[in-house]
Symmetry: C2
Subunit: 360 residues, 2 copies
Amino acid sequence: MTQSRRMLVLRAVVEDYIRSQEPVGSTSLTRNHHLGVSSATVRNDMAALEDEGYLIQPHTSAGRVPTEKGYRYFVDRLATVVPLSPAQRRAIGNFLGGSVSLEDTLQRAARLLARITGQVAVVASPALSKSTLRHVEIVPVSMSKLLAVIITDTGRVAQHTLEVRPLPSTDLLTSFSETVNARCCGQSLPLAAKTIITVGTTVEHGELSALAEALSSTLASMAEDEQATDMYMAGTSKLAHQHSGTEMAPLLDALEEQVVIMRLMNSLSEEVTENGVGVAIGSETHTPELMHASVVTSGYGHTNATASDGSATAQTGKPVAFVGSIGPTHMDYVTTMAAVRAVARYLTGIIGEDTTGTDS
Amino acid sequence: MTQSRRMLVLRAVVEDYIRSQEPVGSTSLTRNHHLGVSSATVRNDMAALEDEGYLIQPHTSAGRVPTEKGYRYFVDRLATVVPLSPAQRRAIGNFLGGSVSLEDTLQRAARLLARITGQVAVVASPALSKSTLRHVEIVPVSMSKLLAVIITDTGRVAQHTLEVRPLPSTDLLTSFSETVNARCCGQSLPLAAKTIITVGTTVEHGELSALAEALSSTLASMAEDEQATDMYMAGTSKLAHQHSGTEMAPLLDALEEQVVIMRLMNSLSEEVTENGVGVAIGSETHTPELMHASVVTSGYGHTNATASDGSATAQTGKPVAFVGSIGPTHMDYVTTMAAVRAVARYLTGIIGEDTTGTDS
DNA sequence: ATTAGCACTCTAGCCGCGAGAGTGCTAAGA
DNA sequence: TCTTAGCACTCTCGCGGCTAGAGTGCTAAT
């Protein structure tokens, strides 16, 4: 562990394996990376690295393949993070600039990230529990149903149908929603839920207490329900026919079980590393289906915006949602981490921009 | 073609092949289907069917496999459509009953259909061009941006951001949106777009003509843009690792190109057959990527609702959207057609129900 | 028109083999 | 003590040949 050359060899192995997808031998290493030593020396180092658990050979007398521990060390110490070039940054801006709604933006972001990384990309829309209420609209839909449209400060729009037995008159409804908007705007969702109850009991809205309670519990459940946050996914097809070798098959299943991915990325995106991205390798995901996959995530939409100078100052605020990419354990971590970080920053910018002028 | 037994043989071949996925020989046919004749006779029939283009053998002295023509004849004449059992219908109701919003319903419908058919399922949300306006809400989002939330009679909610240089006052906005709602509700989207222009030019909203135009063109573009209709998909993972044999690979690509699927299903769902479902087999899809796949589609949300007696009375109105399933050409057409039809009917019911009480 | 019998054909799977890549070890040199 | 050249050893991958089995098409009899 003390010798630096060993780790140079480790890095070389990881890099070559990521490129070729095949076990890498000592001679090809000396060919591709001018290490200044002979293949025999490299062999010794590789044997040592294997003893320490960084490498493994699929079978005797084959090349070496990095283990999870090897990838981990590579990601933590050896990977030189290359920030995207200005041209690439501009490309991101162009690609995401023309969006008309938040949903659209996120969908595009997912597509973009999938294309950059060549892997599956996942973008979650801002969690409702961390948003504040901007506007509530109540519209009758049928004889007994109301549609509540809830708009949050992150620009997200949610809708819920409410069943209220005797449908209130239109006048009463508008009066009610006006009051709710006046009293609850700017409050967090759970708080707004409480406030609405009082609106229902007070003043002349007494007969609307049923509606108020329904709306309130809707808000509360939306806030609680992490799973309710939408997820945008892209790039699944590539995964399917690139790595069709059965190893990635369970991953596809997991992807349809959005809940699992959700929880995983959510927790991972909060572990802020120096890079601003979290990486879970193989079993580190604690998810059986992702045993042979790695997840690269980053939160976005931190409340105190990143400084406009763009430097990676430690963002203290908790992220509002996350963006991530999933691929095989032997994925290109450097590129993926850079791309994920860039997209996350861009999205943070978008959301911050929209939020600044909230109470105009 | 005149002999009925030949077609019995054809049906037997198709059924067996759908089950086993392997070329089916004459002897196994006589074993599984008591046709009352010997294998030699069946061999003769099969040779004839091959001459006529209904069957083909992958190589000399192997079993027979249905051709597209064979599947087509099977679907048109030989398949006995089994309506779902009451229990199954109830299961659909249960599965989709707890939905809170239209989006939720459609998402669930896609999942359900995917599970029943074991294939990819696609559900499109009602096309905006065929919907009428129920409500428009305008909310300020930042210093220069407005968020327009548009609710249609099918329960769909769309949002668009508008950029208006001098942000109008809140009072003016509410007054404007009230007028718009009063004048445009119930109109189709293109018509509403025109009406809004007049609202902008008339009365004291004169200074809002810019906003009115922006909103109007938004509505118009939404109505035009077929591609803008959302699509819900499910079951892609099954497809990936069941038929991983490269044949279905291009299909996965096509699925990400939602536009293609969209157009295909849209046109197909309008070709109403006696069953109420449209089937495109292999090259009939006119889509290179779907050369080895079949598509089963049905429109839903016909304006004049299906009679409540549930009988399959010819629904004359054009459908508002579609639901469909995609699988290999050797898929189980009988089950798939039944499932697609059932889900489509259920969705039609949902939408009709919501629509009845529109103008309360 | 159907059927039994038979010769013929084609594929999937298995076995064995040799080439090639890569290792580990040992002994010599710095 | 670290590095390196040389060498014997091991393991997989791919190829050719082979057989068993399933299925066909044809012919002659019913």
